[in-house]
Subunit: 330 residues, 3 copies
């Protein structure tokens, strides 16, 4: 039994197999690979692309998706062990995971961090609790990592460039009025480094470093692939020579839980917006973003509407890679 | 590629083809006409009949429906062009429409007006934005028109009367404690006039006229069909000679955005309720309403429970006409 | 046409037929018994197990489930007769039931009591109104009874014990910080007594008696089966000799509508928690609960994690019994 919670415990060749199957499914979308299989999809947070691409993708493979929103249409869930449950939660993840395992062949979970205490959020305890108590594979639909987005991102880049080995990959922080999740940024470092690219992280200051777990994993991946890992605080230097620009906004982990300070900090760096001047420093790079994206905040209309913007392609590829991944683990 | 946003750019014979296919599907509901096809259904507002009839109808044709509720389970969407998105919206319709077009074969939208400024609402910018940026057909599940209701209404009347040419059709305003959408009223004028009926609009005063766009379209349709179009403010005169009575409440466009004044205005006209005395003025007319309907407010129990009330039949026909329409455009 | 609103108007042998089909479906879950059939599922309250097990079960039988949440994604509904609908409700159950009957082959309803006036709630008017106006079978997904839970409970006990005739069955009240629905408790008495067990109700005091309708029905069932029905207020005496312990918390009907007093009353009886000391008084009993369950409030971790706890099995059996029941009535 294999979970898909992080790409870090999948090898590059295993992931490439998933991407190859995704290409195949892109050409032939309706195959009964999930016939008589079902997936319980638990959304603790909103979703457009993830819900649509999973639900439809499962249907295209003749499977059944069940959508659940704990705390909204289902009961609130407790995750702590040995707890006297006298608060708001009506049931324990231990029961939820076992019951859903009895009904379905897979449990997929979207659970964003709580944005109060990074020491807690970084344990990713919601999805890990499901993994602990489930008897069926557990799939990450975005927690503090977003491995499905990684696969879609990679497939899109491979469709554009072919082999990515040695390409120069930039992950740039970009402005957003709210302090957002680091998941896609963490995932960007993991997957770019795993697939043999020179990875550069551009952010406003050390305050915006990602968690060491992800910085170190990316460094390890790069060292294994013989590529470079760098961090830059200078925009021109950061964009210079890039073949790929991936943008994401996130809140400073150093100010985590203090939303007001995070907002004030972010607002100093509105100039990190991705625009055509910055793209001009690159090696004729492609640009992408995971969406949703606030136009003229994270990236300009000009960038979003350009030929080199692959964001729509990447979103479209979500369906194909998820179908492939589910077919592999089920 | 053909949208179904308004019946005005569909000819009478094209619409009749849809109605004929609907009759066919009513007799033989399970046909694989939408096999391997999918429809993204976006609900910005609540729904009972529309959701059930579309979702089930698509399933009966072997297709897949995906239900999305932007702002609830999906991200809030921006519709303006060239906007710096520093408000509540997390993504732009341009991305949403393109991404959903990449996943699905059709995008269906329910987006009621905002009830603040009719000059804005009358542009129907939500669904028109989807139509502008989508690469798949867009279907109206009620905005400021309700073309699917029109089809169901027509099929129901044709089932009762056969040919409708020259029938006397009354659309009467009726009371409701809140100022409601004009969509079904607008649609009623469009479809009754297009199918060759003499159309009369009965409302409490000029304050309750519908938008000129719809009045004029109905007049044009009637003039093309050689039938009459009239507006009446007198109840007995309005009902007199009618073969069909269709009722709908709406808020005065002249007081649009001032909910308190609209409510006060409406409350003067509680006597517009459809009752058996008024039905007695007619030519033994049938009665219908789009539902939901507040009993003993819009129409009496006696009318709703009468043999001449076709509201349930009309609601039931929603499924059949929508299946036919989707089969035509997909 | 047969509703499934209460097990009381189904005979023991009819119910056993359902259970036998459920066992069959458990071994062979994918059968086209509901091909071209659809079920409208109306949730007035949250659900995890019920939604998942019904929606997936219907899909496994090749049917289609439509999920509706009146008041959230659908319009609020009026249930009174001859009402001038000038309140919040936008439509009457008479229309909703008829319209859904026109679309679907079955209407399933979850409608908890309002917890204000037991004299009203005990009429179970929501589901009974649907039954009154529907032209298709109506299924209870929990109101003031929970017959689907009954079937799952019975199947689980039969899987463990085989024939249940003469077994000693204990329903014990247990603590919960909120005054909960009596539905599962009522159902527990009905089904245990119907299937030939000696039934004992253990509760803190006469204040916690269940409605006479259910006490008397259980007494009648027991008298028909030649078994005993007892009520106990003493924990040791209650557990003594039990083969089966079923636990449920509920609010005192004598304090119904006064939530503060109910909470205060409940809080006197925290010691009714199911723990291994109490289970030690039994005849090596199995334990079960309908879920959701607050750990260390209703039952201890030790009990929930024990070999004799059948709560997960019972939840898993929900899917199988519901598939069997739907196959029988459709």
């Amino acid at each position: 039994m294999r979970n898909f919670i992080t790409t870090q415990n999948w090898s590059r060749s295993e992931l490439q197999d998933v991407l190859d199957l995704a290409s195949d499914l892109k050409n032939k979308p309706h195959q009964p690979l999930l016939k008589n299989k079902s997936v319980a999809m638990l959304f603790f947070n909103p979703s457009l692309r993830t819900k649509t691409s999973f639900e439809l993708g499962i249907s295209e493979l003749s499977g059944t998706a069940i959508i659940l929103q704990p705390g909204k249409d289902a009961w609130p869930i407790e995750f702590g062990d040995n707890i006297v449950m006298d608060g708001e939660s009506e049931e324990h993840v231990k029961e939820v995971a076992q019951v859903l395992s009895s009904y379905c062949d897979c449990i997929a979970v979207r659970a964003f961090p709580k944005f109060q205490d990074w020491a807690i959020d970084r344990t990713d305890h919601v999805i890990n609790s499901f993994a602990k108590y489930s008897s069926v594979p557990v799939v990450n639909m975005e927690t503090i990592e977003h491995p499905c987005q990684e696969l879609a991102h990679l497939l899109t880049l491979q469709e554009h460039y072919g082999d990515l080995q040695g390409k120069n990959y930039l992950l740039t922080w970009t402005y957003h009025p709210k302090p957002l999740n680091t998941a896609v940024a963490n995932s960007s470092l993991l997957i770019a480094s795993k697939f043999g690219m020179n990875v550069k992280l551009l952010c406003p200051s050390e305050q915006y470093h990602l968690d060491d777990r992800y910085i170190n994993a990316a460094k390890d991946n790069c060292s294994m692939e013989g590529t470079a890992f760098d961090i830059s605080y200078n925009i021109e230097n950061g964009y210079s020579g890039a073949d790929i620009v991936y943008a994401k906004s996130w809140g400073s982990l150093n100010l985590y839980g203090d939303t007001e300070k995070q907002i004030a900090s972010n607002s100093q760096f509105k100039h990190f917006i991705v625009d055509s001047k910055k793209m001009g420093y690159t090696n004729n790079a492609v640009f992408s973003h995971c969406l949703p994206l606030r136009r003229n905040i994270k990236a300009t209309d000009e960038v979003m509407d350009s030929d080199y913007c692959l964001a729509i392609n990447e979103a479209a590829n979500r369906k194909h890679v998820q179908k492939a991944m589910l077919s592999k683990i089920l």
